[in-house]
Amino acid sequence: MAEDDGIKTVIGADTLINGTVRAEAEIAIYGKVVGEVLSSDTVIIEDGGLVEATINAPWVIVSGAVVGDIVATEKLEILETGRIIGDIRALNIVMVEGGAVSGRVIIGADFAESAGIKAPQRTQSTRTGAPLTKSRPRVETSPRGKTVIPVTSKGASRAKPVQSELIDYATKDHGDED
C-alpha cells in the first residue's frame, strides 16, 4: 500500500475520467470513469459512481454501476446498490441482497486458476491448460437477489465446492467435454 500521508484518491461525483487509471493505492469512484482501471489495491465504486471500463484489482467493492468486466484477484464485493453488467472473475465473492449482476461469472480458486485470473499488471492472455471455454455458465440474479449458477464443465465435479453468500449452484457432470 502506498504511504501517501493519508491522501486517498477520490474521483468526485462531478468528474469524468476518460482513459486508464493505474493505482497503487485505494481509489473511491463517485463520478464516472470510462476506459480501464488497473490497481494493485482496492477499487471502490461508490453509490452514484459509474465505471464503463474493465477493472482489474485484488479487491473490488461495488456500490455503484459497472459496465465492463471485473477481475478481482482476491475478493469482489457487490453491495445493495451495486450493479454490474459484464463478466466477472473473482477468487472470492460477497454479494449482498439487492445487488445485481448480468454476465458470466467465474468464482473460486480452481475456477479462477483455470480461467486464467492473473494479478494486475500482467498481460491478459489466458493460460493454456483447460480453460472453461465450452459452455461458459450464464449467471443471472432473480429479483430476490438469489443467484443460480449452472455449472456444466467436466472439471467442476472434481472442484471443491465454492461457498459464496447467496449463491447456490448445482454441479452436474455432463461428461461431454473435450
Partner: protein
C-alpha cells in the same frame, strides 16, 4: 460540487473533466479541463494541458496552463508551457519556461 483527488499512488492516462475541484498529487498524462480550481500538489506531475477557472501549481506541469481567472505558480513549482490567464502570480523559487498571455476579459 465535490472534490477529486488523484493521490500519489495513482496515474491517470487520459482526460479529466468536470466541475469538481481537483487536487493532483499523483500523475496525469493527458488533459485536464475542469470548471473549477485545479491544484497541482508539490509531488504532482502533469504531462499535458491544464485548463480551469484557477490553476495553482506547486508541482510540475509540462504543458500549457490556462486559468481563466487566475494562475498561481508557487515556489518549487516547475512549469514548462505557455500560460494563458487573466491574473498571474509567479512566486520566488518557481521555475517557469513558456509564454505568458494575459486576457483581461
Amino acid at each position: 460540487m465535490s472534490e477529486t483527488i488523484i493521490g500519489s499512488g495513482v496515474t491517470v492516462e487520459g482526460t479529466i473533466t468536470g466541475n469538481d475541484r481537483l487536487l493532483v498529487t499523483g500523475t496525469v498524462k493527458g488533459e485536464i479541463d475542469m470548471n473549477s480550481v485545479v491544484t497541482i500538489d508539490t509531488d504532482g506531475e502533469v504531462d499535458g494541458p491544464v485548463a480551469a477557472l484557477e490553476v495553482v501549481v506547486m508541482g510540475t506541469v509540462n504543458g500549457s496552463v490556462s486559468g481563466s481567472r487566475k494562475v498561481d505558480i508557487r515556489p518549487n513549482a516547475n512549469v514548462e508551457g505557455d500560460v494563458r490567464t487573466a491574473r498571474i502570480l509567479i512566486s520566488e523559487g518557481a521555475v517557469f519556461r513558456g509564454r505568458v498571455e494575459m486576457d483581461l476579459g
